[in-house]
Amino acid sequence: MELDQSQLSDEQIIAQVLAGRAELYEMLVRKYWRLAVATALGREHDPAAAEDIAQDSFVRAYGHLAGLRDRKRFAGWLMKIVQQERITHFRRRLQHQKIESLEPARMLFFAATTNPGLSGEQVSFVHGAIGNLPEKFRTVILMRFVGGLSVEQIADQLEKKQITVRVWLHRAYNTLRKELAPILEEVQR
């Protein structure tokens, strides 16, 4: 009996993909695309590059899928691949001269993603504040508030102790609460 695809867990999707149903990999792409792009955005805030990095990461993850030790931890594993791809991409970029300005692409990207209640500047400010966090703090903040995972789920995905993730998350949260205070006041008015 065919499983209802919308109810499949990551584990089940990966098992089906490895059994030959490569088309199901797209379910993982759609599920984690937002988290991958958010992670890839980094300090450079280059949306086109972030999408390239996310795409390369999903392809690389597919190529090594059979080697994933714990299929329940696909999200955490993917996040690490995105972080690596971001470094590789950044190094490659240093060797090339960009021939187009970043700004039009960034403004179009923000226009497509911005809540009507938030200005492009506010969104940029938030991205900057999160981008300036240490990598491990950024990771847990994005997994919590963009990925919607709990501390237990994040700890499981990253193979860290829950207490460690809690400490990182609360430190990141408190830092961000102070950094974003002006924006939060504006939004709450």
């Binding site: 088309e23 937002r34 090339h96 021939i99 187009e100 994005l142 709990s150 501390v151 609460r177 709450q188």
Partner: protein, 234 residues
């Protein structure tokens, strides 16, 4: 600052572990406590702002098609994508040792390379460029100018303008020169090398003996049997 007895509930809210009962308790409490009400509103606003600042569109149909195409030529390998090691230096050293031990030969389209923490695809040097030649790396939409002494990777597409040409090395003693008004894809390099010449002309000089070397065009596929040859797509 929230009331001390309710701090664990606020912590659970941050952790994403607040139960329905805790939520009801908090909602009852904030009706009469201004400080906790402010803290609660600040948290909700922050959660909303962060989430909505990353309310990104899902992958476009172009991106999903690109991923489909790329994974269609890839078989999921039972090799680790990440090498676990403590410390940055140890990670880099472990990666280098792993790549050297396995005699890494990058074959795009079949298996992704066994990756270390700093894994990167094999680079091929560009020996010379005359005029305007553009390169696009796989999975990207940006065309970049190709420069002498820059690097190319498997999957790269090249486009040369009128009066332009580029020469690059593929393997140790094999060079390819792309002529003007041409378009080329570096498909695979390794035990078998394959180039796709969509249009224009290329010259190749191979070492002898050499492994299977193919040039595919819209009209067919040619295998190099000698050491110097030209392929011209009309």
């Amino acid at each position: 600052m929230s009331c001390k007895p309710f701090q664990p509930i606020f912590d659970a809210m941050i952790d994403g572990t607040m139960t329905a009962q805790q939520k009801r308790q908090l909602e009852t409490h904030i009706e009469s406590c201004a400080d906790c009400r402010q803290a609660y509103q600040t948290h909700c606003t922050m959660e909303t702002v962060i989430s909505e600042c990353f309310t990104l569109p899902g992958p476009s149909s172009e991106i999903t098609q690109s991923i489909r195409t790329r994974i269609a030529n890839t078989k999921p390998a039972a090799t680790p994508a990440l090498v676990w090691a403590r410390g940055t230096f140890t990670k880099i050293a472990a990666g280098i040792l792993l790549m050297a031990a396995l005699g890494l030969a990058f074959t795009a389209g079949r298996y992704a390379p066994v990756a270390s923490i700093d894994a990167a695809p094999t680079a091929y040097s560009v020996q010379s460029v005359q005029g305007t030649v553009l390169v696009r790396h796989p999975g990207t939409t940006t065309w970049l100018p190709l420069a002498t002494d820059s690097t190319m990777y498997v999957g790269d597409e090249l486009v040369s303008a009128p009066n332009a040409k580029a020469t690059f090395a593929v393997g140790e003693n094999t060079t390819v020169t792309l002529s003007e008004n041409s378009m080329l894809v570096l498909k695979t390099v390794g035990e078998t090398t394959e180039l796709y010449l969509a249009s224009g002309c290329l010259d190749a000089a191979l070492e002898s003996p050499h492994g299977p070397f193919f040039v595919t065009t819209p009209h067919g596929r040619a295998e190099a049997l000698g050491t110097e040859f030209t392929v011209h797509v009309q």
